[in-house]
């Protein structure tokens, strides 16, 4: 563990804005900044940096197709550890042998993710349910813990090369770290997830889905704010120089998402769509990648206009509620 002056990191971040695109929480959302950041739990998650709401994936110009050139590498700074983890979960879906998604992966490979430990978790947080927590380092190149005018840092070479090594952490820093970690973790509600994927699968035809989904508006807010949701639509945008083919965030909550050209819709009602969202995160994702597709950040609970609470759903379906 190292300790680096806050000032030094803040100054360095602004300097790096010359060669990097800096994304950080600002005015309540993660967005591109000039190196400034705000200490908060942002509404829009860190995925904005690596899977932006709108992104060009191809150019058509003078009768030819071109790959979109690479932009400057990304520094994603000041997000919570759950958001850093979320990006590593998206990576599981984007990285495959046959069709690796070049636009996500090239940003991820050159990018740097720096999270700030979550000393004061909210009452909608349930990250510890998935074996990680407010001080988790998975997916982060560095985890910073605020202490007075210092950051205590658990980082890799990539981080220290850019931000400097500071000094060796003192014994009292390590104690502070452990204590803060313990205190934060204790505040977080743990939801039982043992064999959750199997339990959900066995209840796929359960009438309870009807009840669970009834109040959902299918507005898609949960999917856009979810740090691990990555579905996208593809649309062409005409420009003066040609055509820009772009991908845009999409949501499995919308009926048109699965509607086929013939008019047939294999997920015709709220019931199937809500079920699919839950099953994808807690049954299919673990089956495919060995990890739940949820970090327990709680955004879908906080921002749902009708108070759909995924924790309650997991308790009901997991047999503990």
């Amino acid at each position: 563990m190292r300790r680096i002056k806050k000032e030094a990191i803040e100054k360095k971040l602004k300097e790096l804005a010359k060669d990097y695109r800096i994304f950080a929480p600002m005015n309540g959302d993660v967005k591109e900044t000039g190196g400034e950041f705000e200490e908060c739990f942002p509404r829009l998650s860190g995925k904005c940096a690596f899977l932006p709401p709108e992104e060009e994936i191809l150019r058509y110009k003078d009768g030819k197709v071109e790959e979109t050139p690479e932009d400057k590498p990304i520094i994603l700074f000041g997000i919570r550890p759950c958001d850093a983890r979320a990006i590593s979960l998206i990576e599981l879906a984007m990285r495959d042998e046959k069709f690796p998604d070049v636009y996500f992966l090239r940003k991820k490979e050159k990018g740097i993710i720096i999270s700030i430990a979550c000393k004061e978790p909210g009452d909608t947080c349930f990250c510890t349910s998935f074996g990680h927590g407010p001080f988790s380092t998975q997916g982060s190149d560095a985890l910073l813990v605020e202490k007075d005018d210092y950051y205590l840092v658990l980082g890799n070479e990539k981080f220290f090369k850019l931000f400097g090594e500071g000094e060796e952490a003192r014994e009292e820093d390590k104690e502070y770290f452990e204590e803060a970690k313990k205190r934060a973790e204790e505040k977080i509600e743990k939801i039982p997830v043992d064999n959750l994927g199997e339990k959900l699968l066995s209840r796929i035809e359960d009438p309870v889905w009807e009840k669970i989904s009834r109040k959902c508006l299918n507005c898609g807010a949960c999917t856009f704010l979810c740090p691990t949701c990555y579905c996208f639509d593809i649309q062409d945008l005409e420009r003066s120089w040609g055509v820009s083919r772009r991908r845009y965030w999409d949501s499995c909550m919308f009926s048109i998402y699965t509607k086929e050209a013939s008019g047939h819709n294999p997920r015709p009602t709220h019931r199937e769509r809500v079920r699919n969202r839950i099953m994808h995160k807690f049954s299919y994702y673990p089956y495919l990648y060995g990890e739940f597709g949820c970090t327990g950040c709680g955004r879908c609970v906080v921002y749902c206009p009708v108070n759909f609470d995924i924790r309650e759903v997991l308790k009901i379906l997991g047999g503990s509620g």
Binding site: V65, K98, I234, G242, Y257, A261, P266
Partner: protein, 276 residues
């Protein structure tokens, strides 16, 4: 490598099949040689017109006839409307082939029942022609094809010709014949099963494609015939955007139709909700 990058191709010929379906022969730009196109019956391609969009289309041709891709396209939306306006020699863009396609190697040595309704002819014509081009590799071949009227039947003339061949049984039917000159059957496609004789069910593969309502009735007949459930193959439609297992649209439970489909067995259908 950008997986979203498409290849330039040229429309060689266009035929009108019905009021709202056209048949396109398309040749990729690959110099002057006749190109071996490496695909399987049952696979699909993404076709795009820059500025309009991109969508998946079944390949209707067979790799046993090199040089061209053939597509059977119904005018249903913005992209297909624009494709319908194109003339021969126009440029279109392709990427693919994608999807699993039919397990043709496994199907060798078996009797084949190919059952199509409406636009289901688009992917199954590929399998049919492949089997006919490799006739010695397969046992008996039955084609069952249903349409609403003779005018609605895709590949009508091509399939009517097949009725004269003695190495397959070609059973064509229309719900109603308003021309008075229809030389084949009238009635729904399931009624054709009474003419299916002498197949060895355990040694038969059935391939079905048609509107969702058709599957239920056809599958009942196939199960009645005692064809094993994992030898009843269906090729399914699904909304798709990327074709490469990323965008999420075609996901069914833990699989992607664009990677693990669009050909599924009836066994899969029984074990997965929302497949049809």
């Amino acid at each position: 490598m950008n997986p979203y990058e498409m290849q330039r191709a040229r429309i060689v010929r266009i035929y009108r099949l019905t009021d709202d379906v056209k048949f396109f022969q398309v040749r990729p730009y690959m110099g002057t040689e006749v190109c071996e196109l490496n695909y399987r019956p049952g696979q699909f391609m993404m076709i795009s017109l820059p500025g309009i969009g991109e969508a998946p289309f079944s390949i209707s041709s067979t790799p046993s006839r090199p040089g061209l891709y053939e597509f059977c396209i119904r005018k249903v939306g913005r992209l297909t409307e624009k494709i319908f306006e194109l003339k021969e020699n126009a440029v279109i863009w392709l990427r693919g082939p994608y999807g699993n396609g039919f397990p043709v190697e496994q199907m060798e040595g078996h009797d084949l029942l190919i059952i199509m309704g409406g636009l289901g002819a688009a992917p199954l014509r590929s399998l049919l022609l492949y089997a006919l081009d490799n006739r010695e590799l397969f046992g008996k071949i039955y084609l069952l094809h249903g349409a609403r009227t003779p005018d609605d039947m895709l590949f009508r003339e091509e399939f009517l010709e097949l009725m004269h061949r003695d190495d397959l049984v070609c059973l064509l039917t229309v719900d109603r014949d308003d021309t008075g000159r229809w030389p084949a059957y009238t009635g729904v496609v399931t009624e054709l099963f009474r003419y299916v004789k002498g197949i060895d069910p355990k040694n038969t593969y059935a391939a079905v494609c048609g509107p969702p309502v058709m599957y239920k009735f056809v599958v009942e007949k196939l199960v009645e015939l005692q064809i094993p459930k994992n030898q009843i193959l269906m090729t399914l439609e699904r909304r798709m955007k990327c074709g490469i297992g990323k965008c999420g649209h075609c996901a069914i439970e833990y699989i992607y139709t664009c990677l693990d489909g669009p050909v599924f067995t009836y066994w899969d259908v029984l074990h997965m909700k929302e497949l049809i």
